[in-house]
Subunit: 217 residues, 2 copies
Amino acid sequence: MRGLAKVNTGTEAPRRTRIQQEKRELILEAALEVFSTNGFRGSTIDQIAEAAGMSKPNLLYYFRRKEDIHETLMQRLLDTWLAPLRELDDIGDPLTELRSYIRRKLEMARDFPRESRLFANEILQGAPRIMPLLAGELKTLVDEKAAVIKGWMRAGKIARTDPWHLIFSIWATTQHYADFDVQVRAVLGPNRGGDGRFEDAARFLEQLFLDGLKPKG
Amino acid sequence: MRGLAKVNTGTEAPRRTRIQQEKRELILEAALEVFSTNGFRGSTIDQIAEAAGMSKPNLLYYFRRKEDIHETLMQRLLDTWLAPLRELDDIGDPLTELRSYIRRKLEMARDFPRESRLFANEILQGAPRIMPLLAGELKTLVDEKAAVIKGWMRAGKIARTDPWHLIFSIWATTQHYADFDVQVRAVLGPNRGGDGRFEDAARFLEQLFLDGLKPKG
DNA sequence: CAAATTTTTGACCGATTGGACAAACGTTAG
DNA sequence: CTAACGTTTGTCCAATCGGTCAAAAATTTG
């Protein structure tokens, strides 16, 4: 007999067997690899199936459509991706809070470069699949944190600037080390492009965001 | 009779008619639009041909292969893309030089967002077609400018930091406004996401790179 | 004008794509 | 054992892909 249709829902409520959970994870892991380096349109189901070590029809048994895989991936991504910003809290010293936010974001770029590239690919192509999330959930979160930062400015704890662009600049500088990793390593060369480049980046970013470039004195 | 094979070389020395020059420009303009939003693999010759207002075989008369279009596009891009960095000069006040470099890069993100996204797409996917250029020409240029910046640091004109990561951070923050434009506009909302966002970004970045976030005291 | 050349097009090709489907296989409960 | 259910696969399909080709149309040249 054929498998039940229930399995393939992809987005609906799950009642999954052990094998289904395992295989779905396997597929998502493989799809993350493929999608993050080739983009959605540039990736094929065959590629993902091969990376997951199964046949194409077998993969399509767990995810009915290519889009379902991508969608599931993006949903998971956004939660973990915004976690560092959610943690930015009003308690504690503002400069310390910002510094550790930068550090956490840089660590995510180092530890989850594929997730970063998957996200970058989506945004680059106009965010066709997550536009509502950007204008909704993301904007709400950023506005909320911008208000926190504004409070710090009013209290004289940090310099007065635009909180939104401040957040953008933190995103940009940290994700750069994931999204443009190839370029970073090529420019730094074999000596400085090794594992130490993230420590160097952390040191530099801390100095940039705290003190800027003006010489002391 | 059929057209001559000479026309399609794409990379070789050109001896082109007026029509050939015009049509090639038309195609490259259309291809920039398509490639920058869909990536190389995600774009089709049909899409480019339609955007250029001609039939697919007609397009293939001017560029024999899809790759030839992309290659021509990338070659042109790199020259204009690195122009601002080349202009970074040892004459003049260091802080002013850096500030105007940032401004020029931000203007490029504003005026040539498609070029920026084309480049980002290529790097994101591992830079398969321009890797030699990154490790060669680009690295040489950056190393050269890093030396200039180091000189400024030794002279006490700017704070001591890592020149390479400084350049990375300028690239990241400015190109962010082209590559992640959709996200920027979504987060800023209808009010602040309008044309003024680049002015706001310019003001913010100037302050960030010069003074950092520490409150004045 | 007419001949030569350049440009454009419609028809076509093999390969690859996302996906469907039934049959086969594996597993487990009674 | 067997029936029921979950899993896997080979085969197939229509659509789309990059690209070819010969002939028609347009343009340039003498």
